[in-house]
Amino acid sequence: MVQIKKRKIPDAEIPTSSMADISFLLLLFFLVSTVIDVDTGIGLVLPEYIPPAQQQFVPISKDRLAALLINENGDVLLNNEVISIPQISKTLQPRIESKIDQPANKKLVVSVKTDRKTSYNLFIQALDQVKQAYFNVRNEYSLQHWGKRLVDLDERSGEMKELKEKIPITISIAEPESVKK
């Protein structure tokens, strides 16, 4: 009698030794393709849009206003005085400091105005200087009162809140005027 041999079933196993290699490969791909770049820049809040017909002229007293004018040649005018861009922050700092203890409606307002032909780079440099002036003042205030640097303060802490109240950053982008032809 012919013996019917039962076919031996081979071990059903998935070879897993190369799994680590495969997953390493995938891991490498994701490591390389991941971009963990944080967006950096100068933040600003624009004013609400009001149609020209409804615009009202709100007078701001001279000692509150720091008018910054940048023309197309790169000349900077701060309150009708010609200065260079790196000087802006030094010039603004004492004015911001003098207003720390004033109520909110007496704080300094920095108004930035440019020509249409002004280079964007110059505008950013000027804005950077203004921001730096504010940051320096905040930093000093923070060091004086809490002995902490500005960068060490927590964004949600009460100290930061007080800073924002005492030294608010008010930068106003001037309403564009219609181009005269």
Partner: protein, 137 residues
Amino acid sequence: MKFEKKRANTKQSIPTASLPDIVFMLLLFFMVTTTLREVDVLVQFRLPEAKAIEKIENKRLVSYIWVGRDGRIQVNDSIVKLNDIEKIMYSKRVALPNVIVSLRIDKGSEMGIVTDIQQELRKASCLRINYSTLLKL
């Protein structure tokens, strides 16, 4: 007296059985954190540099507008006209009320186009903006 080499009785091999698990965990982490939907930037631009810059903490809120050195404006995946910005940005704002618009503008641009875009954004009431800059060292 017979000298015997002092040798620990343990096996001299690193257990690699859990290696795939560990690697998979890392893999999953990177898969989750990767944002693959990178928009093709169609315009050429170089960002300006500044010192007093802030980080945008929440990347999900950010929406970009590019302006190339040739003055073309890109929103999302396509080049748009200046007049279209208001409509596009308004729909973005409706979907995401506290959207931050990051302006990636070439440093050689003129302020005219920047002002125009800002006016469009104001009309669309996207008021939180960010001039994207690099850190000046």
